[in-house]
Symmetry: C2
């Protein structure tokens, strides 16, 4: 079971790249080559992120993408939702047995509680946080 698929993974990496060059337009090509992400695939992801208002773009020579939202407000949960759909444990487990009284279903509550925990854990991990972790890791390295 893979929690993050390639698109989410790539999107996070791309956002980190953009966050590192905040205020500048960075081309998809340079991100693709530097971070080893398939070019056209990446472009699709970037367009999707524009639609979700995380980044902006400029066309033409010297164009590219720029981060728009504050990195600390972009969570992994959000990116999972964009690229993999809302986290849900299962459509509705045990539907046959208990869905008749859905409102009271204890199992359902149990499941929803876990959903909540999973989401809030990922909520804590923002692009901003990852950036700082990354910097710290690089400091230690050198």
């Amino acid at each position: 079971m893979k929690v993050l698929t390639k698109n989410t993974d790539y999107a996070i990496r791309a956002l980190l790249a953009l966050a590192a060059k905040k205020g500048c337009y960075v081309s998809a090509k340079s991100i693709a080559t530097e971070h080893d992400i398939p070019y056209q695939f990446l472009r699709g992801l970037l367009q999707e992120m524009i639609r979700h208002d995380l980044i902006v773009s400029k066309e033409g020579v010297q164009g590219g993408f720029m981060i728009k939202k504050d990195p600390d407000t972009i969570s992994v949960t959000q990116l999972i939702e964009i690229f993999q759909g809302k986290v849900q444990v299962s459509e509705c487990m045990f539907r046959k047995q208990i869905c008749a009284n859905r409102a009271r279903c204890v199992l359902r509550h149990e499941i929803m509680r876990i959903e909540q925990v999973v989401q809030s854990e990922f909520e804590k991990v923002t692009i901003g946080k990852l950036m700082r972790d990354l910097e710290a890791a690089n400091q230690v390295k050198s």
Copy 2:
């Protein structure tokens, strides 16, 4: 993003059915019809669970499947691992940038921490617990 796929979902339901008739052999057919699970699909799942020592079977007329392990020791985590593979957030995020000093990678630690949280939450949910919840729900209903 779906956390539980059909096979895990069905397997849980089947185990609950077996747990409710502990000590008896229950046929795949009866489980399939009662719980609305595709028959042949279910049989595959049951065989897999035999291989993992959760249940046993008896061939021939009056044969069927019987739960073997204590329901309280069968966790959803375990079933996810059997049917969807071990929970992993991503193979190795940011590999290009940091895998050189993998041991020190802060991001990796962050990710592994979440992995841990997710797993331990599911660990708490056992077949035994679900059984009791289910009984409680049915009590309230009637």
